[in-house]
């Protein structure tokens, strides 16, 4: 029994090292292609773009979101901004109506139906060649759109371009930990771009050719992750998605553990269920690295986190039990000997070194991502917070996403 669990443990460690090395090799292969532009650029021509802001109870942030769009470095007559009130119950509708005077802005009101319905309403009214959304809690950097559009001009076969999303004004430990994670996300997304294997076209300012929706249909519910579902659908149809690493979008990250938990539960649930919906893609080589790398890696990481977590819980239970036995055997008056620290008692089995290696590669990914977004080398406090915050909470949202999936899908198995 012990040898089986040890074998599984090493299999997961092998996979983790493999994935990290895979990203690292991809980085080494393509490092010269990562261009981070500074200042403004000019395009050959400026195609018209519609950007939609779906709003549901976003009174606190939507105004700044719209200002960030109006502030984009892009010809005003080429930019259409749709503000869609998805049945908000707060002052969102009042706030967005303040922008009706602006010729670029058009406001819509509809019954609440979920984000994807708001996006679809915008799609129905879109007449431009390019289309994108911006979540009402995110703010676009003035140069972001023009940099994204430059990708479309360089290669007509590109169908969607995702930006680099980072955390807006992080204040506490939870947000700083996420900032480090988003930095790593930027790096990983760029690597997935090189692999042609991006699996999310995030809500904050991914720009699509409108053709994508004309060919493949509009947004779907996608288990509340419509921005993942559309990316899966595009990958299935071999539509090219790229990542513009120097287009920055700042998003308001959850401030509390509870909100972070809810957000991640939705993401992971979306990942599991979209992957199940698109399971026929898995391991089929015609779908490229998306089917052979991105999806299997996601599934394996969920499994490994769950396995490691149960292992930790088991060890912790054992530890508590041993303390209980001591208490039970010796009573309260037992002598606790403070043993001196001895190097001898450091575990030197292979996995210790491999785990250290994995940590190094993860930190390296964060540092590179930070370099790609902030232009700075080095460690940040967020990286220090990242490990405790995510290693404690992540297993819970993973487990509960798996649990919810089993619960919700049960009827279809009968």
């Amino acid at each position: 029994m012990a040898s089986i669990t040890t074998a599984i443990f090493y299999v997961f460690i092998f996979l983790s090292v493999y994935v990290q090395v895979f990203f690292f090799v991809t980085f080494l292969e393509n490092r010269k292609k990562i261009v981070t532009r500074k200042g403004t650029i000019k395009l050959g021509y400026y195609p018209a773009v519609t950007i939609v802001v779906p709003c549901f109870n976003e009174e606190k942030t939507v105004e700044q979101t719209v200002f960030s769009l109006l502030n984009l470095n892009y010809p005003k007559d080429k930019l259409k901004i749709f503000l869609i009130n998805d049945g908000s119950t707060d002052k969102t509708w009042e706030i967005i109506n303040k922008f009706t005077d602006n010729p670029s802005v058009k406001v819509f009101h509809k019954e609440n139906g979920g984000k994807y319905t708001a996006l679809n309403l915008a799609l129905e009214n879109t007449e431009t060649e390019f289309f994108g959304g911006l979540d009402a809690d995110s703010y676009a950097d003035p140069e972001s759109l023009i940099r994204i559009m430059s990708y479309f001009q360089k290669d007509p076969s590109i169908m969607a371009v995702a930006p680099s999303v980072t955390v807006y004004d992080p204040k506490n430990m939870i947000q700083n930990a996420q900032k480090a994670e988003y930095h790593m996300g930027v790096y990983l997304k760029k690597m997935l771009d090189f692999l042609g294997a991006i699996n999310v076209t995030p809500g904050p300012l991914t720009i699509f050719r409108k053709k994508v929706f004309d060919d493949l249909g509009y947004y779907r519910h996608g288990h509340n992750t419509e921005d993942m579902e559309i990316a899966y659908r595009m990958q299935k149809n071999r539509y090219k998605i790229e990542h513009c690493n120097d287009a920055y979008i700042y998003t308001s990250a959850p401030m509390t553990v509870k909100k972070l938990y809810k957000q991640r539960l939705r993401w992971i649930y979306g990942f599991i269920n979209n992957t199940l919906d698109y399971r026929d893609v898995l391991f089929k080589k015609k779908y490229g690295n998306f089917a052979l790398f991105t999806l299997p890696v996601g599934v394996a990481s969920i499994l490994s986190v769950i396995y490691l977590f149960s292992r930790i819980i088991y060890n912790f239970g054992n530890y508590l039990y041993s303390k209980f036995v001591i208490l039970n055997t010796l009573g309260w008056h037992f002598i606790t000997k403070i043993s001196n620290f001895d190097l001898f008692f450091i575990n030197v089995q292979s996995f210790s070194f491999l785990v250290i290696l994995i940590y190094f590669l993860v930190i390296f990914a964060m540092i590179l991502g930070r370099k790609m977004t902030e232009g700075k080398w080095g460690l940040s406090f967020g990286m220090v917070y990242f490990f405790p915050v995510f290693s404690i909470i992540a297993p819970f949202w993973l487990l509960s996403a798996v649990y919810n999936t089993i619960l919700n899908r049960r009827p279809t198995w009968r």
Binding site: F14, V25, G288, T329, F334, F344, V348, Q349, F351
Partner: protein, 223 residues
């Protein structure tokens, strides 16, 4: 379109990293074994030296000999051996070291018995037999009791032996006291055999009574 070569190269790199990790692990593992070996050699020299000293000078040397108490080192060695057995891959080397350790314990026991009678030093001896072959929760509890007692009474010497160890000297001990594997844990206090679990209060009373060992005050208990 799919770069299979890359998948293969990454696989090979990962394998290489695994091999390196196991090489490094082996290196440090061997260092630990070496450390244990050198502790054992040191203990062996000390025991042999005390033994020789005792034979040379007989009773007149009592003053000098009582100062060379070795059980602290023997304890440390025992703890490290146990940890190494639970947390490392080199179980063969460890079990070899464990045999050596058992032998040193027996030697120390015989010598200390001689010294304590010869020099009339108040001390108590417990031989403790446990098993690692099967899950013996009572053994674990008994070990806790004994370590606790040993900390309280520095002149109490506890020698622990793995029942299943393949060493003739230990087997002889088992024969002398007629200890069976069904009755573990087993303790020997002054030729009396106790089987099964015995709690701290019971053992403490026995140690105090039968061996007339006085509880030493903390100030003089550290030698």
């Amino acid at each position: 379109m799919i770069d299979w070569r890359k998948y293969l190269i990454v696989f090979l790199i990962t394998v290489a990293l695994f091999l390196s990790a196991s090489y490094v692990s082996n290196y440090f593992g061997n260092k630990k074994i070496d450390q244990l070996k050198s502790i054992q050699d040191q203990i062996a020299i000390n025991i042999l030296s005390s033994e020789t000293q005792f034979s040379l000078l007989q009773e007149s040397s009592c003053k000098n000999i009582s100062g060379s108490v070795l059980s602290g080192e023997l304890d440390e060695l025992g703890r490290k051996l146990q940890w190494e057995q639970e947390n490392s891959n080199s179980s063969e080397k460890v079990s070899y070291l464990k045999k050596y350790y058992s032998l040193l314990e027996i030697k120390d026991y015989l010598l200390m018995k001689k010294i304590s009678t010869g020099c009339k030093i108040k001390s108590a001896f417990i031989l403790y037999f446990y098993t690692t072959m099967e899950n013996c929760s009572e053994c674990e509890k008994e070990s806790l009791v004994l370590s606790s007692l040993r900390e309280k009474y520095p002149d109490l010497r506890v020698y622990s032996f793995d029942y299943s160890i393949d060493l003739s000297a230990v087997k002889t001990l088992l024969q002398i006291y007629k200890i069976k594997d069904t009755e573990l844990p087993a303790l020997v206090l002054d030729d009396e055999v106790l089987t099964g679990f015995h709690g701290i209060d019971e053992l403490e009373a026995m140690v105090q009574k039968s061996f007339k060992l006085q509880e030493l005050k903390p100030t003089i208990s550290q030698k």
